[in-house]
Amino acid sequence: MLDARDISRALTRISHEILERNRDAEDLVLLGLHTRGVPLAKRIAARIEAAEGHPVAHGALDVTMYRDDLRTHPTRAPHHTEIPPGGIDGKTVVLVDDVLFSGRTVRAALDALADYGRPAVVRLAVLVDRGHRQLPIRADHVGKNLPTARSERVGLRLEEIDGIDEVRIVELEGVPA
């Protein structure tokens, strides 16, 4: 569905949208959501830096402890949360994730964020929006809208983690459409 060039173009567009909404990247903090939101936040930060000529604060947010489905899975070790030195108080925080689906990860991220401080504004950027929201959550910046059936899965792979940039739609077996 998307190859490396499409992904690159989408990220460039998202970067410019973020800048337009937030003129002087100074109060901007990009936080990638584990796992694949983290490299995406780094890529967007690099693009903004290239356009603006100065670095933009970015980090990583782990929401494991804040999930509402903790009790339905075996536990796993949380990933590392990295809040940039300037903190998030009074900042414009852009949460970055790969695929927006039910909205539950973003809900957990908003709760986690509140424990780290009080941002002035929180926005959401995602590479793919596949629909099927279960909560009143929407993205401010979307790389690509991919209407999917529930019986499908979005296979999103990134160079930094999977060795290749691509987005594919995979049919799942045994899930009603």
């Binding site: 009790r71 899975h73 075996p74 949380p78 590392h80 401080g117």
Partner: protein, 313 residues
């Protein structure tokens, strides 16, 4: 992950690393302004202590509270047990109140194992007699690994454990966990405080023993001092405290025999001037206060892994 944590035998080397990785994140939470995670919201943990403890109990209490669990401390000493209630009736009564996890300390070796067999909730051993104290060993291993350079850094390192080995559950748990982490352990004690049969045990598990602290100290990468329990003094294990200090205390003189920067650990409470000198306890390489903060992080990690996930079958 296992259902209970009764002994270091319950966790593999891989699971220990997973507990450490989680503890490292929990350690970061301690630095936040809001020291609270919602992972155990709505769950209740009982700290049931049949034996005195300040640091272990408060450490478990803080750990549970920072994970948003409701934590109830019950000192069973001088309560229903002294009125003749059996251990089984006490734990069944306490857990019938709708408890999701039990942290227990008892003076009888094996008490936690026995209790785990009666209950269908996770049981964490916070020290049972002279048997084991697994969370202490985990926090010691975590502190050392962090100090010596992160995951895998204990591989091939030499660690001395010094003191009353016979009566020490901290020693028993630590020797198992440090060996799992790849360290080579030397157990040092006067002959009267070496457990009987330690030679065969050491051979089977792969650790060394020595009666001479002076021989061992210059060779090790870290030293773990054990508390000398004052009540042993009258037991004829050593003639006087002075004599113990001369032979086995980490004195100011011995501090100079240690390698530069080699971490010094002590599970506390310390008898300053007996097994550890003030110079050693307050040395730059002393990690004793780090152990305390690591204790909360490790216990958060253990509570999280045993209580947050799906019910294991």
């Amino acid at each position: 992950m296992t259902r209970h944590l009764l002994s270091i035998d319950d966790v593999s080397a891989e699971e220990i690393q997973r507990l450490f990785a989680t503890a490292a994140e929990m350690h970061d939470v301690q630095k936040r302004e809001v020291k609270k995670l919602p992972a155990l919201r709505g769950r209740t943990v009982i700290n049931l202590f049949f034996e005195d403890s300040t640091r272990t109990r408060s450490s478990f209490e803080i750990a549970g509270k920072w994970l948003s669990a409701d934590v109830i401390n019950l000192s069973a000493k001088g309560s229903s047990t002294s009125k003749g209630e059996s251990l089984r009736d006490t734990v069944l009564t306490v857990t019938a109140m709708g408890v999701d996890g039990l942290v227990m300390r008892h003076s009888a070796s094996g008490a936690a194992h026995q209790v785990a067999g009666w209950l269908d909730i996770p049981v964490i051993n916070a020290g049972d007699g002279m048997h084991e104290h697994p969370t202490q060993a985990l926090l010691d291993g975590y502190t050392l690994q962090r100090q010596l350079g992160g995951p895998g850094s204990l591989e091939g390192k030499r660690i001395a454990i010094v003191g009353d080995l016979t009566h020490s559950r901290v020693f028993r748990s630590n020797v198992k966990s440090l060996i799992k982490l790849g360290a080579s352990v030397t157990a040092v004690a006067p002959p009267t405080l070496m457990p009987s049969g330690i030679t065969e045990w050491a051979k089977a598990d792969g650790f060394a023993t020595s009666y001479s602290l002076d021989d061992v100290l210059p060779e090790v990468d870290a030293v773990m001092m054990l508390r000398v329990q004052r009540e042993r003094m009258s037991g004829g294990y050593f003639p006087t405290s002075r004599e113990y200090t001369v032979g086995y205390g980490l004195t100011r003189q011995r501090l100079g025999m240690l390698r530069e920067g080699a971490p010094i650990l002590h599970p506390g409470p310390m008898n300053r001037g007996l097994e550890i000198s003030p110079e050693a306890a307050d040395a730059a390489s002393s990690r004793i206060l780090d152990q305390v903060s690591a204790g909360v992080a490790i216990r958060m990690s253990v509570l999280y892994h045993l209580l947050a996930g799906e019910e294991s079958a």
